[in-house]
Symmetry: C2
Amino acid sequence: VDRTTIRRLPISKSGEAGTSAASRSSQDRGAAVVVGPLADHLGYLLRRAQLAVFQDFFAAFATLDISPVQYSILTVIQQNPGLSQSQVSEALGIKRTNFVAMLDTLEARHLARRTATERDRRTYALHLTADGQALMRKLRVLASEHEQRLIDRLGAETHKQLFAPLRRLAALAHERS
Amino acid sequence: VDRTTIRRLPISKSGEAGTSAASRSSQDRGAAVVVGPLADHLGYLLRRAQLAVFQDFFAAFATLDISPVQYSILTVIQQNPGLSQSQVSEALGIKRTNFVAMLDTLEARHLARRTATERDRRTYALHLTADGQALMRKLRVLASEHEQRLIDRLGAETHKQLFAPLRRLAALAHERS
């Protein structure tokens, strides 16, 4: 069993007033929580890494109130003006119903708009508004700073080497569906 | 601009009856959706890879009705019997309120139990039940097969090399909180 620990719990100062409930348990003498076999699971580490990276993203984009998924939707609409809702949601792997709600929010904020297509009135073509384009210019700067923090963290070479294997893993989803 | 595409849309057979709404849009002549700058964002690829890996996990564990987060909770309780709810939720980076609901489910399924501690009646110590231990033996086999599919996908060397940088990224979360 791999005894790797991912987080060392704070050592309580025994008997001190105000010690939290958590630190009063049987593990309060500096023992660390052992995640054991989880540390050997790529899925577990992918999730922890993804959450940590998204946490940095959320913090960086908080002033503009944009989440990672909103940024990904705005980017795909900007890169492919006129796509349908299904095409954007499919390209990003977002469930249709979730996507519609997200687009409602972006439309209410006047960042993106749906326009009926000539060929089929039930299909909407997606475009960024002028506000959306202006916001994207700011977001691009923040996104680039966010990425630079990850590069600084890992080193440029390691950062670069992660992309190919992650793409191979991501492609598993296409093969299943 | 990186024109990397992550998914090639199906080429519609123009004019054919039953063509879906999506394929009737302006992109229906075999053009692919361009994710553009997203393809250069590690966070985006981490998320796509994590979702694909979890999709494999869900499929593999469906017969036993166990999700990745449930597996992680059961594993940490098994590895550290007697921990408090706060300690397990903190070690796994799960919000306290979400964790309590997840534990309710595991308790209702008779897989884990909370017992009041002698030192503090407000703190519960967590243990697996006999059913939980028996289930873990089955889950361990499925988890090992799931991991082997990822190893087969990436090659053993690449699979192994992913862990250190993912751990470095995951540690970003601890530094912020």
